[in-house]
Assembly symmetry: C2
């Protein structure tokens, strides 16, 4: 199959916010509580950073375990890598993702302030000052025939949507309100002129939204 550009497991509040305001080193999601936003995924058997055995094997687990299937590279915004703004003070800190990042592929971080690439376990981070289209060309080359994940955050997903570069998108809408922060949409209906939309309520309380190009 032709490689696809996919958004996966992107979670927003019922009012459309993917993260809160006030991002800091200690609070990657600002005032939003990621454990609350992501609880649908955290409780599944295949959640990547799952510490203890157990977990569910229902609908949410299918979606969580599809995260790596046929993905060859990810593109993320700088704010998904870390809370720094402007020029890097140094290159010591290597992002929020620990020594075993859950990506297992090349990751392209979009930033106006590139820095040297580095590798943690089987994930290599590259830093690009590039348009969505040019970044995607590099990611597709690195993905070697597999798909490219657009990893977020909200601003990055919006950029790729605006450039009409996304083929399929899965967004989980969590049953919490955030009120302010980074907003993906006011309503998923905004996208139905370009995408098929299938809504599937999960027993966990989130509503899965599956989009694919018309």
């Amino acid at each position: 199959m032709t490689p696809m550009v996919r958004v996966q497991n992107f979670t927003v509040s019922s009012d459309g916010y993917g993260s809160g305001t006030g991002q800091s080193h200690e609070r990657p999601f600002g005032h939003a509580n990621p454990a609350e936003l992501m609880s649908w995924a955290i409780s599944t058997a295949h959640f990547p950073n799952r510490a203890a055995p157990g977990g569910t094997y229902g609908l949410d687990d299918y979606i969580v375990r599809d995260y790596s299937t046929n993905i060859g590279a990810e593109i993320m915004g700088r704010n998904k890598f870390g809370p720094q703004r402007g020029p890097w003070e140094n290159h010591d800190w290597q992002g929020w993702w620990g020594n075993e990042p859950p990506f297992h592929t090349p990751v392209f971080v979009l930033t106006h302030h590139p820095r040297p690439s580095f590798t943690l376990s089987d994930t290599t981070f590259h830093f690009l000052d590039a348009s969505p289209k040019d970044a995607l060309a590099q990611a597709l080359a690195a993905a070697d025939g597999k798909d490219v994940r657009i990893g977020g955050g909200v601003a990055t997903v919006r950029q790729f949507l605006d450039a009409d570069l996304i083929d399929t998108m899965h967004v989980a809408v969590a049953p919490i309100e955030l009120g302010h922060g980074e907003q993906l949409w006011e309503s998923p209906e905004e996208l139905v002129d370009r995408f098929h939309l299938e809504r599937v309520p999960s027993p966990s309380g989130v509503v899965h939204h599956f989009f694919w190009r018309r």
Copy 2:
């Protein structure tokens, strides 16, 4: 993770039948129409034998494309291989699955009439006269750390359920009645003493039933 024993994409009618009566070379599902029973899967983008491009990327497609994920071997009953009963008249016919079988792993066919193994593309068929437990031990060894799929038909799934060898099971219940044939259950409730059960209606009309061990 420890290898699991999984039933996947097994489809039954609303009255619990996985196939009809009167299996023959021309009618692998007997009086049941497989295109009707399996239409939820056939319409997805990742259906293995999909001829034309297109297809859906919603809930049903996640489930269809999980079919191969982390599967290292399949066990099937003889009636899923072919319609013959009793001793093989010859070994010329190589099953219903064509020259490019959708399994891509070793497949163990349970039969009281073993015949020599053979390979079609990247699928090798082995024939075993063995108990579920002994067949599973061989399949797990061949799967080399990956999971084993119990591929059906109904009698084979029932055998493995009765021997309590199944860890997770996905059954799609299609909105058609068959009235008679090979029955998996009178009701999925029969299994809830041993399994968690999550029911998820799909926009396609099937109801996905996800079971995992308590």
